[in-house]
Amino acid sequence: MSSPPVPPLPDQGKDCLLYGYRLRSVVPLPSLPVMPEGGVPDLSLRRGRVPEQLAGAVWASPFVEIGGDGSVLVRIPGIVAFLIRDGGCLTLDENSNAETSTIETFLFSAVAGAILHQRGVLPLHASCVMVGDVAVAMAGVSGRGKSTLAGALSMCGHDVVTDDVCPVDFRDGKAMVIPGPPRVRLWPDAAGLLGLSHAGLETGRPNHPKRVLAARGADVGPKRLGAVIRLDIDRRLDTPVLYRLTGPTAITPIEELVYRARLGRRLGRRVGLFRDLVRLATIVPIYQLVRPEEGVDPSRLADLVVSALCDNGKEKAGG
């Protein structure tokens, strides 16, 4: 993966693994694998002053700002704030008294998205599990059922590679997924569909309805991406359908495939994201899985996902 300058290091803290990067953190992050001592960190997380707003901001959304120097401010008023600089220097607001679970939730999502865009890595908006010896990414905007499907596949014995943010690295002509924390965040109705007790699951953030399903994770090494399955909903359908996407439709709309695509574009990744997605579509088969809005057993969708990988394998064997 690309290597911007090594950020200044905090004086203390253990190194852990975040989306393939060695993160040296003064904040406890119990959900992340701990790394052996002695390596040079790619990322650092310290507590410090985080501004209310970025001076000379070039772009702002309700919770995210981009500064003129490419730094990113993620601020959830009254809860938590992070400043992300140079693709690896992270500052957690010294005045934030957010619980560890809240810090982790934002670090693994919005903050990670900013890091990846700053470093020029393609983050698919996808949850990803292992099917056989390859990873399959289930992509789509929020509410399409990515995590529910990953949860269903996890309960069928498939290792979870990452949830919601899916970094893809291109190596030796292959697309490789960099694993994230092995957990899946579920809305209450999704937990119910999977037969899980909502009350029995941990919370990702206090007073937030989403719950965390701790899943069996894949090992931490990069995984070859075997397929991307784009999720969609069509109220007119009675039963889910899966089909291969070809041509430009495989990667459009770009905003539905890339995690926080607008942020990435504003960080100078407009052309890079386009090139990466074209590259992805030439290496990896991309499918569309469309389901009715309600009344579909997640295990039925999970079977369709697995069948896509099997069919792809047959095509390769036959061709």
């Binding site: 041509g247 495989a250 407009r270 386009f274 074209v278 579509a281």
Partner: protein, 90 residues
């Protein structure tokens, strides 16, 4: 008409996708659109494009003219092609 200087072109499964580099607007083209796009790499008049399509595809010349004009208007409206001097056309 010809390609806008600030665009990037790629192909997926033989079909063309074009993105403007300033605003990030993009469009995916079908078979015929991809043929027209490749011709537009060099400056073309509307008549030249229609003649090329008439040689490759069966169709009423008025229909071809209407379709080509609409195609060019669409691409120009999102700054993926631009008008050049008459002297630049072949």
């Amino acid at each position: 008409m010809t390609w806008h200087s600030e665009q990037i072109t790629a192909a997926i499964d033989g079909e063309v996708i074009v993105m403007g580099m300033i605003r990030g607007q993009y469009v995916g083209l079908d078979d015929i659109g991809s043929v027209l796009w490749k011709l537009l790499e060099q400056p073309q008049t509307i008549r030249q494009l229609c003649d090329e399509l008439g040689l490759r595809y069966q169709g009423n010349s008025d229909t071809i003219l209407a379709d080509v004009t609409a195609f060019l208007e669409d691409l120009r409206s999102i700054d993926l092609i631009e008008v050049v001097d008459a002297g630049s056309t072949r």
